[in-house]
Symmetry: C2
């Protein structure tokens, strides 16, 4: 089913059909209705590919995330989608799954789709993959924890500051022996965020710190907790790099006959909706996902050519809940 057939059926030319479909205001009303009727009858759908090929541009933007299962990324994706849809754009999502080759493949795929803009919402990214983002002549935004990148819009979560607030708070509660849990992926040998936590804790020389990494999901959080507590039963708090892993800790801790927060405090990061529904409600650090999503849209589908700020830093706020408390006496 194509333009020509519709045109024949409506006894007009292709171009007139095209005009009707694109709401060009110059078509006579009777013609328009005749065309629309033909479109209906033939169940015609314009070919997306032909359209963007001919027009030389597409009304879609690409978003690549580290792990779509993690509500943090899902929320950002949804926010971008809402914003983009409002401006008449579609969003193509790709899940890098923390793997470098998937990230590169996704970028390639999206460039192949001739997206109008590209966002990489990945916690970290190896420098080589960065190369791939640039040089396609489309706006690009990178959102993550890592250092600022050149030539692209950066939305950087001040992870360090958030972690400082969190570790200050925990120290104030008397915690001196802590576990730190991050997630491993192929993007980096060890989670960059774990290093940030370690730096934050290093401000206190008397702090004992143990580290573990596992997959970015509740099961990974659970396994890491098991590893940590088996080897270091003296820990009084465990800091997770995100909520999605942190929630997995509770189960393991319960099964060991311990209580949160009386025996062990647990913290997450991101403040996803789940955090408040969890039991005990998870202490976390709030990241405004909706806001980030909006900014991504602004940067990618900038009407009027007015480029927004090339740099934006998110300052996270503590979200204190029930999973943290005074350090247990040892």
């Amino acid at each position: 089913m194509n333009l020509k057939e519709v045109a024949r059926c409506a006894r007009v030319s292709k171009i007139t059909v095209s005009r009707v479909l694109n709401n060009a205001p110059v078509v006579k009303n009777t013609t328009r209705t005749r065309v629309l009727k033909a479109v209906q009858e033939l169940k015609y759908q314009p070919d997306f590919h032909a359209r963007s090929l001919a027009a030389g541009k597409s009304r879609s933007i690409g978003v690549i995330v580290s792990n779509i299962e993690n509500p943090f990324f899902l929320d950002i994706y949804k926010a971008v989608e809402t914003g983009a849809r409002a401006k008449g754009y579609e969003v193509i999502m790709a899940n890098a799954d923390y793997r470098s080759e998937r990230l590169v493949a996704s970028v390639r795929l999206m460039i192949g789709q001739r997206v109008a803009g590209l966002a990489a919402v990945v916690s970290e990214m190896d420098p080589e993959s960065i190369e791939d983002l640039n040089g396609y002549g489309i706006p690009v935004v990178y959102c993550g924890v890592g250092a600022q990148r050149d030539n692209i819009t950066n939305i950087r979560v001040n992870y360090r500051r958030g972690m400082d607030k969190l570790t200050d708070y925990l120290r104030g509660l008397g915690h001196r022996r802590m576990g730190v849990v991050g997630n491993h992926g192929m993007l980096r040998p060890v989670d960059e965020r774990v290093n940030v936590v370690l730096e934050s804790l290093a401000r206190y020389p008397d702090m004992e710190v143990q580290t573990a990494v596992d997959m970015d999901n509740p099961e990974g959080g659970r396994r890491a907790t098991r590893t940590l507590l088996s080897a270091h039963p003296e820990l009084t708090a465990i800091v997770f790099v995100n909520d999605f892993m942190a929630v997995g800790a509770m189960r393991e801790i319960r099964e060991r006959g311990l209580r949160v927060p009386e025996d062990i405090s647990v913290t997450g990061f991101d403040d996803v909706a789940l955090a408040q529904y969890w039991y005990p409600a998870l202490t976390s650090v709030h990241i405004p996902r909706d806001h980030i999503g909006q900014r991504i849209c602004d940067a990618l589908v900038s009407d009027e050519e007015k480029m927004p700020a090339r740099e934006m830093v998110i300052e996270p706020e503590l979200a204190l809940r029930d999973s943290t408390g005074p350090a247990a006496k040892s």
Copy 2:
């Protein structure tokens, strides 16, 4: 950046470049390397649109889900993606958000993308939207709770059977006054699954049943629980149509000073990963999401033209956990 430029840079014709890119086995090796070098240097990415336009087909399939935030749908999407990727297909996902017009718009969009196949994983669907699925000449699969549809592959969850098992179990525990919670969306005035639960419970004439509907997320589950318990404090169990809503109940129940399952039993459906991590671990009914995802792939990217069965029924199994127990004495 296009074929012609690459061709000029490599001093060959467009078609030769095309052959190299498509791994045609007839290109001389020296030519091939020369072309590949040019591709690298120019950072060339073939135009996806032009390609599928010229080839007249695309290597992508579409999946429409009711609510991508709900882990049930996310799991199915991921399973489809894995299967499709293995066969060299891309998956385009669309979120209908339980809204009829979004469903129709998504179908249109995907047809416009000339997907090779289309899956609608929506719990229910109004008959009008059904019309839209058919008649595009591509394989279509419908996966849901509703009645069988003609002319398309059906993957039907035997929701009724699963619910019968669940209600039998609850009755065996002595429950006689139950709440039923479903989610509302525009696809249907009231959740079709709620009706199934009501039918299941109707087998017992002495059963008192109260109903509530809200959004398909933990907050919706929580609100529905509040509504139900405020008006009917005598309820001893609440049956949710899915896990995602059920987990929201616990918080409300706790805040009312009640315990699960001593005072109130709570059940979900789907058996998503979260169910086991929840506290108390959620009694649910297992739906094999991976299996469903695979079958969707089989039906849509059927190599060799061998059409798989046009009908498949999923028989759910009880997953008993800690959120259910004997009915409280009244």
